[in-house]
């Protein structure tokens, strides 16, 4: 089993994601440079956070044209687990692998804080080991993380169970105060229809070690490893 952490120019959570996998879980993982065109040899892909191409033009809008993205799109369509975290989520939306868009936070300011997430579905490779309704604690850190989609898309996300995480308060209630960025329906993460591609704004890559105050992020990566192992990629 080997997991790829894609490095775009301007990625800045690539090292955190790699460490979460290699140090946090002792899972083989390697960087994959964005100018590469193939992801053969890898079993899953992480698009890390950061400011790919400086977030110029629009977050993720340039990165989606990086050579590696063709291979990522192809692999995603063939069912490979792909997760986009923060800027990675924005790239997945720009690449058309996930519906909707991430726009500027309602406050118009960058927000970095700890949030509570509620797991809305265990039917993705990244949440398989998380109970539906369980609560996770991890940081957000973004300027453009407000999830936006049209009514029809939201309805589809809901009816298909494609909403993966929502911002909630400490006791698991969806409230306005617990929404750090003004996302519709307090959406913090979604998946595609086939459920193998997940995008999320919060950072599991910053919550995998007791020193950081939370190890909840580790559960996502453990779910992924479990899924890959049972699929025979061990």
């Amino acid at each position: 089993m080997k997991i790829a952490v894609v490095q775009f120019p301007g990625s800045n959570c690539d090292q955190d994601c790699l460490r979460a996998l290699t140090d946090g879980l002792s899972v083989p993982a390697e960087y994959l440079w964005h100018k590469k065109t193939s992801i053969s040899g890898f079993d899953a892909v992480v698009l890390p956070g950061g400011f790919s191409y400086g977030d110029y033009l629009r977050c993720g809008a340039i990165a989606r044209f990086s050579p590696i993205m063709r291979a990522v799109v192809r692999a995603a369509k063939e069912g490979m687990p792909v997760i986009g975290i923060c800027n990675g989520f924005q790239i997945l939306c720009e690449a058309g692998l996930l519906p909707g868009a991430l726009i500027r936070n309602q406050s118009l300011r960058f927000v970095c804080e700890l949030v509570w997430l509620r797991v809305e579905t265990d039917e993705t490779p990244f949440t398989a080991r998380l109970g539906r309704g369980s609560l996770l604690r991890m940081p957000v850190a973004h300027g453009e993380g407000s999830y936006l989609a049209d009514e029809a898309t939201l309805a589809t996300l809901r009816s298909n169970g494609q909403i993966v995480f929502r911002y909630v308060d400490e006791s698991g209630r969806v409230t306005q105060e617990s929404n750090p960025n003004g996302s519709m329906l307090n959406i913090a993460g979604i998946c595609n229809e086939a459920r193998n591609v997940v995008g999320m704004m919060p950072h599991p890559d910053r919550a995998w070690d007791r020193r950081l105050g939370s190890e909840d992020g580790k559960l996502l990566f453990e779910s992924l490893v479990g899924t890959l192992e049972s699929a025979g990629a061990g």
Partner: protein, 744 residues
């Protein structure tokens, strides 16, 4: 066309007649206009420290753990054990931020980060020490201060967040003296192996000299000269002297440089910060004892038609000069092409000691590099002591409602929670922030080294105004105390000296006093100064800023279990005050905020007491007795107790009984006597705690217990009660209220 060097032109370049004579003596001829520009920036205060060099020599700069000393390179380096070291430094971007707050602050962050990775270190965190005029109210001044404050915070956030270096702490003060002349002091720390220390020296005659990074443009022309004069109403016309930062390019440059350094082919590396290409060529040559020859025609340029003068003096951001071993040119090409960054072979190292700059192979500049870099005149400025400040007597102020006074103090932006600020900074990237912003000092786990580092910046400008020597001593003591409270042992200091125009004898006296105070205290605490920055000419039309010698201090936490936060944890824990109850009310925030009096003699620092208290706290922490530790600073015991109750994840009250106190209750609550730390311990550890304090022979007092919804403080005569949830509301949202109330 040859520009005639007239006396006006010399004056416009900020050079005196005497300095011009010295330039002619060095060259043995008249300089041309480009050379005049080169001397002007290199001999500006910002680059040459001509007015402060004698003072800076007073700092203790050595120690068994100092690997690179102050002034040797772009930043000092300190050993932290197991072959690992840290490089850190603080630098100001005050003047640019005053005229263009967003870019001024952003490029300040970019510049300090480059200083750190130039040393071969990977930048791991940032701190900021910021000062502005008051932001509350509807006056045009307050409105402008809000604009500057919001702009600076957004600028820091823009650069730091994008480049992926967390901003994990710092300080923010608001005071009239900074009106129109905000202070933006940015601190960066990086991690490296001992053998990775890179040098800014041009070594090896014949080695190729590369220019890497962004193209050179017309921005930031002669910014160093601009930063070396007073800010006036016309300063906004100097906006072209402010650079524009591109954090994305900064990130690419950071990664590319570290990658190239790791390959081992680099013999010298120097960032193009202040004075750009000029400074990097003459300093590398001077340090290497060599010469450097470059051709400007080869420099990547953003726009056509730039003159040699403009190219040499541009302060365009995200550029470096790199010298590699001859034969390793392909490695540079490979690395910078990978990262899609411009690079160009612009010259070579020579053996004649000259900084020689050609333009299309014609000599434009020919100056002995070492003389240009090191032989700026050094001045002894005149100094005159400021007026003597009388001791303040509590009888001079009326007794007021103390319930309200604490609320007023906690709601003042200087004391209030800074969450409005640090929520805009990415403080969790790099997955190492263990103690989040808002505690006495930030603690960061440097994963690659397996080390816990604590860092803080401190300075009380009001103390320094009323007694610069004592204020500076206290800045060092408080920084050390903050580190000790988090479980760390202080290692070393970087300082940022922010003062007014040095040609005013009183301003220079303040600087002298402060430097001597810092030097003395750094010596006592065993924390050498390993680098820093001087920012003079911090004036607005109504006068100089309060003298602000900011201290950035770094410490090492020896064991994860020692990491301690400032807030109370659990009901029934016992609260102790380590240190005296105090009485000194002068220069305090209570006088300033509640009574509108910026006066009185600041508290006196007693080294023996201070070191005794710090040693006792350290022992208590290392024995595992301490559940929280918080130092008493602005607003004294009252504010510190309240912060213990409201700065954690959840509010918790406390009952504090101070017994018989033969002084006014406001004096008990809000005096700012030094050397005091509030700790909380488990009830069953009370005896052990007292035994440690007794053995350490420091004053201590059992104050009461944690618990309940209220903070209750009583003496034999009086009692005050506060609802901690309300205190939290006031304290937590104060800055947000000030900033948002007038947004529309």
């Amino acid at each position: 066309m040859v520009t005639l060097i007239t006396p006006e032109l010399i004056r416009d370049h900020g050079l005196s007649e005497l300095e011009y004579e010295r330039i002619k003596a060095i060259l043995g001829r008249e300089p041309n206009i480009t050379e005049l520009g080169v001397f002007s920036v290199m001999w500006s205060e910002h680059c040459s420290y001509k007015n402060t060099r004698r003072e800076l020599k007073k700092f203790p700069t050595t120690g068994p753990h100092v690997l690179v000393r102050a002034g040797e390179e772009n930043a000092g380096v300190v050993d932290i054990g197991d072959g690992w070291a840290v490089a850190f430094k603080m630098e100001s971007h005050n003047h640019p931020s005053a005229v263009e707050p967003f870019q001024g602050a952003a490029t300040g962050v970019g510049g300090i980060i480059r200083d750190i990775f130039t040393m071969g270190a990977r930048p791991v965190f940032l701190l900021d020490s910021l000062r502005f005029g008051p932001v509350e109210g509807t006056s045009p001044g307050a409105k402008n201060n809000r604009r500057l404050f919001a702009g600076v915070v957004a600028g820091i956030s823009h650069y730091g967040n994008c480049i992926g270096v967390p901003t994990i702490g710092g300080e923010v003060y608001f005071d009239e003296s900074y009106e129109g002349n905000p202070l933006v002091n940015v601190f960066c720390l990086g991690i490296l192996r001992h053998e990775q220390i890179a040098r800014g020296a041009a070594k090896g005659v014949g080695n190729p000299v590369f220019y890497v990074g962004s193209e050179t443009g017309r921005d930031g022309l002669a910014g160093a000269t601009f930063a070396s004069r007073d800010l006036t109403d016309e300063s906004k016309e100097d906006r072209p002297a402010v650079q524009v930062g591109d954090p994305f390019k900064g990130k690419l440059l950071l990664e590319a440089c570290l990658e190239l350094l790791a390959s081992g082919c680099v013999t010298g590396i120097q960032d193009m910060g202040a004075a750009g290409l000029t400074c990097s060529t003459c300093e590398t040559a001077s340090r290497g004892g060599t010469g450097v020859q470059i051709d400007l025609a080869l420099v990547p340029q953003r726009e056509p038609g730039m003159t040699p003068y403009e190219i040499l003096l541009s302060e365009s951001q995200e550029r470096m000069l790199i010298i590699v071993e001859r034969g390793q040119e392909a490695k540079v090409k490979e690395t910078f092409e990978k990262w899609d960054l411009p690079y160009a072979l612009v010259g070579e190292v020579t053996n004649d000691g000259m900084m020689r700059v050609l333009n299309h192979r014609r000599v434009e500049v020919e100056i002995p590099a070492a003389k240009l870099a090191n032989d700026a005149p050094v001045y002894e400025r005149e100094f005159v002591p400021g007026p003597r400040v009388p001791e303040f007597r509590i009888e001079e102020i009326p007794s007021v409602d103390l319930q309200q006074s604490l609320v007023q103090l906690l709601g003042h932006p200087t004391i209030a929670s800074k969450n409005w600020v640090f929520r805009q900074y990415d403080h969790t990237v790099r997955a190492g922030t263990v103690v989040l912003p808002g505690s006495d000092a930030a603690v960061f786990y440097v994963r690659e080294a397996g080390k816990y580092l604590a860092a803080t910046c401190d300075c009380n400008g009001l103390y320094c105004k009323l007694d610069p020597r004592e204020g500076a001593r206290i800045a060092v003591a408080e920084a050390a105390r903050n580190l000790v409270c988090t479980g760390a042992t202080p290692l070393a200091v970087t300082d940022n000296l922010n003062f007014g125009n040095p040609y005013h004898p009183e301003n220079f006296w303040q600087l002298r006093e402060a430097v001597e105070g810092l030097a003395e205290a750094c010596g006592k605490f065993g924390t050498p100064v390993i680098g820093g920055n001087v920012s003079l000419y911090n004036q607005n039309p109504s006068g100089a800023i309060d003298p602000t010698p900011t201290v950035g201090m770094v410490g090492l936490v020896g064991d994860e279990r020692w990491i301690t936060r400032q807030y109370f944890r659990d009901a029934t824990d016992v609260i102790y005050l380590i240190g005296p109850i105090g009485h000194e009310i002068g220069a305090g925030q209570y006088l300033a905020i509640v009574h509108g009096r910026k006066t009185g003699l600041p508290p006196r620092l007693n080294y023996q007491l201070e070191m005794g208290v710090q040693a006792a706290v350290r022992t208590l922490i290392e024995r595992g007795l301490v559940k929280s530790a918080h130092d008493c600073s602005e607003g004294g015991l009252g504010v510190a107790l309240a912060e213990c109750c409201i700065s954690g994840e959840r509010n918790i009250g406390a009952s504090v009984r101070l017994g018989h106190r033969p002084m006014r209750f406001d004096q008990v609550l809000f005096n700012e006597s030094q050397s005091r730390v509030i700790i909380s311990v488990r009830a069953e550890d009370a005896d052990a705690t007292e035994a440690v304090c007794a053995a350490a022979e420091v004053p201590f007092a059992r104050l009461g217990e944690v618990g309940g919804p209220d903070l209750i403080v009583s003496t034999e005569q009086e009692m005050v009660r506060w609802d901690v949830a309300q205190l939290h509301q006031t304290w937590y949202f104060s800055i947000e209220r000030a900033m948002c109330a007038h947004e529309t």
